[in-house]
């Protein structure tokens, strides 16, 4: 087994401790260790990796393998940042007794993902603190769309109702404020139920999955080249990040390495995506506290980036660029000049914007100490990306397990510990500055050569993990290939899914009028969550 030296001691220790209960270990990539274990061992293995090795539970997902092995498999994906790798624990669940012991009480980060497995695979959760439906709303018929015997063309009976029972919150002067699913602005749908006593929020219940589209099932129905376009539509604001993570997975399954120029161009696109989103968020945070001048300035900068995006790839959101094996379009000298000019211009104007916001005491007054997410809660919930780094949770795949061109450039990862809206604002601001540096280095070092390698048909029955640190946080695509250049399973993990529960914590004790700005400071994707 070709395993990273930093993962070796972890494997040794686990095999020594659990012996034959770990039935098989293999590493399709040096930094990806798979442990096939007995079902009973799932909790103990995850807890050990989580507590002892500081693993982050980055994903829990299932796969229907009843056809060949008469079991469902459940996978736990743990990211070991310090060891620069991942451990995937796989346990079998007998088809005739589809039950899973929940690990949520030990590792709260598993909460929603376990419930999703219950909804989509019909695997009953045992010992989950809140085992209600999430992905399929309460009025759905008893169907399990991710089981192999659920036909993509099956007609569902008509259903449409509102049977969801929220938890009761009672007491003198306590009342409920329902918001959504259709919100006031031009944003995606979700339902927030606030329980308030006077002004402060006592409890916030989130009901998501209004835009659940069954994307993971769709992946199983398309030839791999078409899947890339689907990956771009998982979350529009992360089109590049999702598509790139998907391409990584396919490339690893096929055993090909994209050429250096492709990796550099991908990095440029990822950083452009980071830039336009961070700058827009900085502006949007300002709007939510009525500082409109800064918002308009930020949106103008965003528009400037989107036009360059369009010039580079033909699409404002950089869609159509990704393809397994590399990228679809090369940038010529003129396009690179436009990019270099953009970076210079943005840097100047962004400095202006930073000064404008830094000097505004009214803005600081609204952002500081608002919506605090403490480092402890961030770690418990496994909060990822900017939200995690603003609460002292220091991890970034670009640095810890560099993908694409990130091992060729120097940058720092801004980490703050305050956990309030101001910190999430500042982390974005500092990352924007880092992005300028990254873009300049990539352009300076841009390798010559081809932009893609031909992929051919991807071999069947391979598993592979693709990962990208998107602007919002880490994105994972885990695939299991099937014959005929298709996928048997594609698990998509957007950072939003991990971070929504953190919003419920951060809002406690704040007043409802501050909710928009707290929400915006996380800026989570509903579509990425719901898929």
């Amino acid at each position: 087994m070709n395993l990273l030296p930093s993962l070796r001691p972890i494997l040794d220790e686990l095999t020594q401790r659990f012996g034959a209960q770990i039935e098989h270990a293999h590493a399709p990539q040096p930094n990806e260790l798979y442990l096939h274990a007995k079902l009973e061992l799932a909790g103990a293995l995850c807890s050990t990796l989580y507590r002892k090795h500081q693993g982050r539970l980055a994903g829990v997902f299932a796969e229907d393998a009843r056809a060949g092995q008469n079991v469902f498999f459940v996978y736990y994906l743990l990211a070991l940042d310090a060891a620069h790798g991942f451990v995937l624990v796989r346990v079998p669940i007998p088809a005739d007794q589809p039950e899973l012991n929940s690990v949520t009480n030990a590792i709260p980060a598993a909460n929603w993902q376990e419930r999703e497995i219950q909804d989509l695979f019909g695997i009953r959760l045992v010992g989950h603190p809140n085992p209600r439906r999430c992905a399929l709303h309460d009025d759905w018929p008893e169907v399990y769309p991710l089981r192999k015997d659920f036909d993509l063309h099956s007609q569902l009976p008509p259903f449409m109702g509102e049977r969801h029972k929220f938890r009761e919150v009672e007491g003198e002067g306590v009342f409920q404020v329902p918001v959504g699913p259709v919100h006031a602005g031009i944003i995606e749908p979700g339902h927030f139920l606030f329980s308030v006593a006077g002004e402060p929020v006592l409890y916030l219940q989130l009901r998501m999955f209004y835009v659940h589209k069954g994307i993971e099932k769709l992946f199983e129905s398309l030839p791999i080249p078409h899947c890339v376009r689907l990956a771009e539509s998982i979350s529009g604001d992360s089109s590049v990040a999702h598509a790139t993570a998907f391409c990584h997975a396919v490339e690893r399954a096929a055993g090909v390495e994209p050429p250096p120029r492709a990796r550099a161009l991908r990095t440029i696109c990822l950083e452009l995506e980071r830039l336009y989103n961070h700058i827009a968020d900085i502006g949007a945070i300002c709007t939510d506290v009525a500082f409109v001048t800064a918002h308009m300035h930020a949106m103008r900068l965003k528009e400037r980036i989107l036009r360059v995006n369009e010039e580079l790839t033909g699409n404002r959101l950089l869609r159509g660029m990704a393809c397994p094996g590399g990228v679809r379009f090369d940038f010529d000298a003129g396009q690179l000049r436009a990019l270099a000019q953009l970076v210079d211009e943005l840097e100047r104007q962004f400095n202006d914007l930073s000064e404008l916001t830094r000097g505004n005491s009214g803005l600081r007054d609204r952002l500081e100490t608002t919506g605090v997410l403490t480092p402890k809660v961030a770690r418990d919930l496994g909060v990822v990306g900017i939200a995690g780094r603003a609460s002292g949770f220091d991890h970034d795949l670009r640095r810890d397990v560099p993908h694409d061109f990130y091992d060729q450039v120097q940058f720092t990862v801004p980490v703050l510990t305050g956990g309030d809206v101001q910190c999430r604002f500042d982390v974005r601001r500092d990352e924007v500055v880092q992005s300028f540096a990254i873009l300049r280095q990539v352009m300076a070092k841009l390798p010559a050569g081809p932009i893609a390698v031909p992929l051919g048909e991807v071999p069947a029955d391979r598993v592979a993990l693709g990962y990208v640190e998107g602007w919002r946080g880490e994105i994972f695509h885990w695939i299991h290939t099937a014959p005929g250049n298709r996928l048997a399973r594609c698990k998509v993990k957007d950072p939003s899914l991990q971070n929504w529960p953190a919003l419920s914590e951060a809002i406690l004790g704040n007043i409802i009028p501050d909710f928009p700005v707290v929400n915006k400071s996380f800026n989570l994707s509903y579509s990425g969550t719901d898929r």
Binding site: V182, V211, D237, H297, L356, S527
Partner: protein
């Protein structure tokens, strides 16, 4: 004094709003490509090379029939353009593609090589909405890309407000809905309720491949293949996401505020 600084900053910015539609529309970059055009007369006999490359199954060719490309389903990936050696499918670089009827987006038959651009609302509705249109946006199962590029229309560069078009917070204050997304089963009820809450007469605008036809999620039982399955649609604006210019053109076209393209 941050107030003075803010004012000074604002003055330095000057006016950033584009001159379109009084001046020329900002040009689309070459790589964008704009709307597609299908000259089926150029198709090689029996060739259907474009059909399997389309990720959203927007292209069909039945035996003995000209190829049919449904721009409503198209996500503008240009794979079919690359796959077509006789250049029967080409890019027009035209941002205009909003239509009133679903069938106006199907390209390929002789005389129907390009989209048949939208006509304005009838006189009565134009009187009502022509100078003041309030829309409620309902995001019903897309990916947030269409929402983003609709949102952009409210920013200074585009400034939708100068046309009297505004997005409002409640359907009760609205003259119509602007819908994005394929309409997931979980959003069906919310969309219906929003539609019912808009006082008549009302209009519905479907923005993006998802809202028109399900987009990349087409034919999945967990979505409704677009807004028209749930509410009547008056204007279809294709794209994935549509360019803000395409959306703006569609809105102005509906209100009778740009010329209808003359037949060649």
């Amino acid at each position: 004094m941050f107030a003075l600084e803010t004012i000074a900053h604002r003055l330095r910015q000057g006016c950033q709003t584009m001159s379109y539609p009084d001046g020329p529309a900002p040009a689309l970059p070459d790589r964008h490509g704009g709307a597609l055009r299908v000259d089926s007369a150029r198709c090689a006999a029996g060739c259907d090379a474009c059909v399997p490359v389309c990720p959203t199954r927007a292209i069909t060719r039945l035996p003995g029939q000209p190829v049919a490309l449904d721009l409503g389903r198209c996500i503008f990936c240009s794979a079919c353009v690359e796959a077509c050696p006789p250049h029967a499918i080409t890019q027009t670089n035209d941002h205009r593609m909003a239509v009133r009827g679903r069938g106006d987006l199907v390209l390929g038959k002789p005389g129907e090589e390009e989209v048949r651009l939208a006509a304005a609302l009838d006189e009565k509705l134009r009187k009502l909405f022509g100078r003041s249109l309030r829309l409620r946006q309902v995001s019903a199962g897309g990916c947030n890309a269409c929402e983003a590029d609709t949102n952009v229309l409210g920013t200074i560069g585009w400034d939708l407000g100068r046309f009297g078009i505004q997005f409002v917070a409640s359907p009760r204050h609205a003259d119509g809905l602007l819908i994005t997304g394929a309409v997931s089963r979980n959003m069906e009820l919310a969309l219906k309720k929003s539609y019912d809450a808009v006082p008549p007469p009302k209009i519905v605008i479907a923005v993006g491949a998802c809202a028109i036809a399900g987009g990349p999620f087409v034919d999945h039982p967990q979505v409704c293949n677009g807004a028209a399955a749930v509410v009547p649609v008056d204007l279809f604006i294709p794209g994935c996401p549509p360019h803000p210019l395409t959306i703006l053109d569609g809105l102005l076209r509906l209100l009778g505020r740009v010329e209808r393209r003359l037949p060649p």
